[in-house]
Symmetry: D2
Subunit: 342 residues, 4 copies
């Protein structure tokens, strides 16, 4: 089966699968404890990528990375400011509210991106005891709309947050795709801009499971290990997450995978445009393409290449490319599309 449903429909990339097989021998300290070498090695790779002061913690999935990163930095009477379309607001079944007890103030935005000006109105609540106190800005990089924040935009948000006693969280489920899109490394995009906590995704870019909560300033990570354990996110056979990240951050694997996905999206975009009857609705910056397709062929097309309908009223669909999306996939999709629209 081939699809454009989501980058989590794809499998595990060969390099990651190989390393999982490799580390599968003998005994290893559980929970990454007792200076487990595999875990230590992966942590060292993160320090290389994000700077020496970095602290990193492995959790199971992106929901947990987002929720716990936020939960760690704020109290229940604080509020998160985020795009209405953000994953934490729309697609985590209320996990941030349940787990952290806090509220989300949302910003309506077509692009999926927010700016300091979007956050400002919420500052009126500061000091008013009847209102949740805005304390953290959360952005997605890549956004849920396929758009990407430029480095300067992230820095502006971080500066604004800090100037107002707030934190900046980045949901980086597709952070590799963003880095490739911007042509920058993680340190430039995250550490140097002042991001306080990052959900560093891997699953959508070729890993089997596991995400990382990254604190570029490790001092802010104090006691996070207890929060992780209490919130059911400490893996016993830690080596199997650690080894994946160790490999992922070696030899540019993350970049190779993300590049393939982003390039596929670019190719798909251009092929869709060429049809003449497909409208691209949002700027294609990473691995997602949003487009309006002829209504009557959508179901037929989905039978062969599954994808998500974004807005059923306008027939806008989301076509997501992955580390394993091939030219053949795209050609097959476009051929079928053309065939269905005579």
């Amino acid at each position: 089966m081939r699809s454009f449903a989501s980058d989590n429909w794809s499998g595990v990339c060969p390099e990651i699968m190989e390393v999982l097989n490799e580390v599968n021998k003998d005994h290893n300290p559980a929970y990454g404890e007792l200076n487990d070498e595999i875990t230590e090695s992966a942590i060292a790779k993160f320090k290389e990528m994000f700077g020496e002061n970095t602290k990193v913690f492995f959790v199971y999935n992106g929901t947990a990375a987002n929720v716990l990163g936020i939960h760690h930095l704020i109290k229940s009477y604080h509020a998160v400011v985020a795009a209405h379309s953000s994953h934490i607001n729309e697609d985590e079944c209320g996990a941030p509210e349940k787990i952290s007890g806090s509220k989300i103030y949302t910003v309506d935005t077509f692009s999926g991106k927010i700016t300091p000006d979007d956050v400002k109105p919420f500052l009126k609540s500061l000091g008013f005891q009847h209102h949740s106190q805005p304390k953290l800005i959360s952005i997605s990089q890549v956004t849920e709309k396929g758009t990407v924040y430029d480095v300067t935009e992230i820095k502006e948000l971080a500066d604004f947050a800090h100037a107002n006693g707030m934190f900046l969280h980045v949901d980086g489920a597709r952070i590799a795709n963003a880095a490739v899109s911007l042509g920058v490394d993680f340190k430039t995009m995250i550490t140097d801009t002042g991001v306080d906590v990052l959900s560093f995704g891997g699953t959508k870019n070729g890993l089997m499971f596991g995400e990382a909560v990254v604190f570029p300033d490790g001092a802010k990570a104090r006691d996070f290990e207890y929060l992780r354990k209490q919130n059911m996110q400490l893996h016993s056979k830690m080596r199997y997450i650690a080894a994946q990240f160790d490999r992922y951050l070696t030899g540019g694997l993350w970049k190779k995978n993300a590049s393939q996905a982003n390039n596929a999206a670019k190719l798909l975009e251009s092929q869709l445009k060429k049809t003449g009857f497909v409208k691209i609705t949002r700027e294609v910056r990473a691995n997602g393409v949003f487009a309006i397709l002829p209504a009557e062929i959508i179901e037929k097309l989905r039978e062969k290449y599954y994808f998500h309908i974004w807005d059923s009223s306008t027939h806008e669909v989301r076509l997501m490319c992955s580390w394993d999306t091939t030219e053949e996939d795209i050609n097959g999709f476009i051929s079928l599309l053309r065939m269905l629209v005579p």
Copy 2:
């Protein structure tokens, strides 16, 4: 490295690793949705094992299986009754309290096992609005002390629970070792006794990650999928958990692995006894051996074969065997032990 630290220090058994490699191709619906075949197949295996009415949900780890199984059945003003030594009380960093908001009433017990008579005193709180209302009994099978409940003991607890409007939860992190120890199948031990929810462990018996929350009476599982998602336990690339369980429940793999672990523990027990200077402190029913070792050799022994000190005041240690523990491991351990005690 070889150890007797814990069954989660061992790796993934070859059969499971093989199936992980096998399913690693093409695209697959995320989250087990859209009737993902691999997930459906695994679910079918659980129904074979536990009966047709069973509902099963895959989560990431044992903490989550325990906490969410309990959380689902009770309200925050309810209380869980459990052994003081239970994992949910002692080793989950307060996860049950945080996630479910409920309280744990604990029973002191040397064996790690509790009986209806242990629970009875807590029933006095029923109907008294100032006390958390006892609503669920939680037992571990195998217990944290290496002991095992007989089938009739489980049934008595389930009957007692139901007669008092309560539920019975089983923490089955080592449920396969218990089944092998008792020589019964899961249906006999769990479904037929009336257990309401089971944390079905796999990680400690050869899996890489993933545990299953099993409701033998599926009607009690209603809406559990939302609880799982909100509590950060829904895996996107679900096939990699499902495939493991599918294989685990095929051809008696669970039994093979657990048998090797249990047999190793029996061998270890008898070898320890033969030394003449080691006291076995608790009945060896599954894969754990509790013993008092000569104080002065413990650290030396741990350097080569790591294990946990259970009670530093009495020098009681826990030696845990795994699916991969070999005769060679045991012989090596015993030899070193004998060498260290001249």
Copy 3:
């Protein structure tokens, strides 16, 4: 000091103060337990008002009545649908999210009122495990904008809620003002329309402290007493809340107080209109008047008669009348206003 700030700036009405003095003698069972006569009498009054199947629980304040009424009926993975301007969304510092763990889906509305059509779009989330499941509609009667739902509008919402497996909650912090405005009794407005749970306010209409959580269908109240206690809302000297409500529901005291407040608002509205330079911005249905005042006189006016600025960009203010607002108050306010605007 006289003000139009809020109906909770006023004191306790004489009849309530009198009864507090009266019941202040001898010993009385704490917590309303052991069939405390004062508590039983107050409960009986609620049954008279709302019907024989009613269950009522006294709590300390409106936040608690709202949050616990909602918390009792839904699970953490459910969502409340409410007006964005609702008190539970805007003015309780995130209490619903923290205490119940659930999410609020908000509807933008100028009038503060919502309709079934506003709720419908959220039903798309039903059955989708990634979204909080809409399970309860919460409305305010009187709304935060001073508007009032007609009885038929409440019934339509209740019918819609029930047809979709949802509940209807009413924040009745000013329920007496609504009843007077509509000229109906509580049973007609709440029980007969099918409201599932009501926060029955008293503090804003002449009580010292205490609100009541009313379940017209008592079967839905099961175990609420434990929720109340665990959430820190069980008063020990219960007689002092119970006696207030007992008196409040006797001889139409609630109606007398609310009528005075509503009439004062009507008078204030007409006097404001007569000035020629004040714009009434929202329909005056109960005891609140929203109006645009000349910007330059607002602060001066507030020095003598404090009131809240609703929208500083448009100079819309809220003038709230209370059970103790007199003609003299209004005349004084209008005189000053006219004096300030030459």
Copy 4:
């Protein structure tokens, strides 16, 4: 009705009732905001009593004072160490667990008092990520067993707590009775010993409602106002709580009331001893008397003078005196007791 059930069965003392009547006029800022004079005056009294750095927050009841004081100082992965018999562990329906998400480690103790030696064993969990981290010691002064900590004992606990990175909380539901018993002022007992947060009770000593959360070092109180509001404990008509505390701390009213209660207990103790057939089971230090009564007369005695049976197996009962307990009450009780035991 007269009773020895609990000090919350008694009413409001005349001085407090009088002040409630007095402040009941005109309008007053809600929530204690805008420098409400009555609230400011009460706060000033607390500063007089506890020192200039004190911050105090009024809440509704003792459960809230305890839970929020603790919740404010710790995180969910922390643990409270307390006597098993403490109110927070036994009589708040799991409120601390639900609201703060944390765990309680309990100490078994006959006297109701704990010492640094009781806390020490829990320190082993420090730094071990699988265990809730002990972070706060909570004691009750007076304890639930009627005993009282000496000032030096409190200081030892505070010093021990601080030396181990922990806090000390005092549940002072009967703090006035303890102060009278020890013959010390609050500053000596609480501020000078280093207590971090105190639940300052009033309801059990003559108030109608309201308790105070006192931080002798106000710096530790930062943002508590949001915690209070979010947890449903901010009273709108704040003057009615503030005025009570203002009066309570004026002219030694707290001392007068507590003295009467303590003296009554002493008298009751001596009269019970004189009977020859009643055994006093615990030291009488404040206003509670624990005694073993002849089993066969307990019910008869309770019909006239209700009291709580503490341990039905030994026929130990608790006789609680109050600010309003008179010699006549005690004489009547003793007479009936003697009459029932021929």
